[in-house]
Symmetry: C2
Subunit: 283 residues, 2 copies
């Protein structure tokens, strides 16, 4: 049995450390039960009489972050995105989710009138005084490259739409931006032209700051294709049902029922989803 350790509370009062209560608080912070237990064991090994609550939680949060990061790192988000295909629609939804998390009102697959013609626009994101038109270029192979024609045609499309938007009364004083987001990469010419033309280009590793890798990792945008407990066909089924992110599956476990999993298998899937969901809260 562990010897009783006295902890100094902020009031100056001392009370014995309770492993049970500590685990509860870590779970409330977003960790799964397993990980909370591991964190507790590590925290306990660092305890000393008179340690403050503040120190315990500072230590606990560091351990928690380290464990969650290594959990998240197990998932190759790049590969998960490459598996969102075969069509480009799930990637458009995925990009839409990113803008939604950033506080934008998001619409996908819109038909929008320009000065000359109407255009199919993958994502339209609006926030206060900013309206963004996004062209999504999805590739299911790492080697796929968006060439210079992409920013060239997107620039004309953006200008054709902007000339209508800019005249609408509700849009006075608003800023308009044209973005191109790809899960693979742009040719050098595409990067040079797009940037020069004032477009915002986001590739897997472009630009150095604010590229797609940074965005999906920092926002912990886990697509269902990142789950290791589902096979390709099952992931595809979910994607076709419009379940693009793991968090879309939370509360829709009924969809897993059609896979006829054993109770044990079902639990392992749910555990994985919840563990990754916890990562998203903590990172």
């Amino acid at each position: 049995m562990v010897k009783t350790i006295l902890v100094s509370k902020q009031s100056g009062e001392r009370q014995p450390f309770s492993k049970e209560k500590f685990i509860e608080s870590i779970v409330r912070a977003g960790a799964t039960g397993d990980i909370a237990m591991e964190v507790a064991d590590e925290v306990i090994s660092n305890l000393y009489n008179g340690i403050t609550t503040r120190e315990i939680y500072k230590n606990a949060f560091q351990i928690l972050r380290r464990k969650m990061r290594s959990l998240a790192a197990r998932y190759s988000l790049k590969n998960a995105l490459l598996e969102l295909g075969p069509s480009g629609y799930p990637f458009e939804r995925f990009v839409g989710e990113f803008f939604r998390k950033e506080g934008f009102m998001v619409k996908t697959g819109q038909t929008i009138f320009g000065k000359c013609i109407q255009h199919e626009v993958d994502v339209v994101a609006e926030k206060e005084d900013l309206t963004i038109m996004v062209e999504c270029k999805y590739g299911n192979e790492q080697s796929k490259v968006s060439g210079v024609q992409v920013p060239l045609y997107v620039n004309s499309r953006f200008n054709d739409i902007k000339s209508v938007w800019a005249q609408e009364e509700r849009n006075q004083g608003k800023e308009f931006q044209g973005w191109i987001v790809t899960n693979t990469r742009f040719s050098t010419d595409a990067e040079t032209y797009g940037t020069c033309a004032g477009l915002h280009l986001v590739g897997w590793a472009f630009p150095d700051k604010g590229n797609l890798r940074e965005i999906v990792e920092s926002k912990a945008l886990f697509p269902v294709t990142s789950l290791t407990t589902l096979n390709k066909k099952q992931k595809q089924f979910l994607v076709e049902k419009g379940i693009i992110l793991n968090e879309h599956l939370l509360g829709r476990y009924d969809l897993l029922e059609s896979f006829e999993f054993s109770p044990k298998k079902r639990d392992s899937v749910i555990n994985e989803i919840e563990a990754l969901s916890a990562v998203a809260k903590i990172l």
Copy 2:
């Protein structure tokens, strides 16, 4: 034997009609010997004593044009263009030849600096105060359609280049045009956007006036792929040697030698080339 017919010359003098001299003059006008003979036979059947030289030649030219047109019509220029592939280069050369015939200085396959990047431009045609940048879209199937992305990216490319051209001193006062020429067709959106954006779109049947069909027929631009006396492989060989039009073959019959034709076969090829060349002069 044919009875002697007296012909009234402009001087009022009468002299007997000479079939031999008549055939010679039709051949000088561009007809092949065979066709000149056919024309002579038809002209002779319409002769009467006292007919004027003027009437004879008016009649002869009508017959000649009818025969040449039916000769030209035997060649499907649309199919001949569809056989220029597999790459798009021969079609670029072909489009260049059209502008050359219109009196332009023509360069194909140029790399040109724009404001943001350098671009590959298929054809640049210059004449007096007009410089034209041409994007060629070659399709080897009738069903191939240039979609709206084509005029969208060409418009950006044209604007990027124009902003450099317009600043050069030698270009002051010059007009710049962006053209897209395809041997197949444009989507409706492509036509609408391209026209609205101020580009010049030329498809096989677009626009109603000045389309590619009209251009190649009125200029009798016969590509070597229109010859019926050569097989696909032989035509391909010539195209790869840069021989795009039949008239490029005139005086380069040495190239036919590598086909190891019999003298009879070689003569039939040369006769066909010369017949079509005559069409070009007469139509």
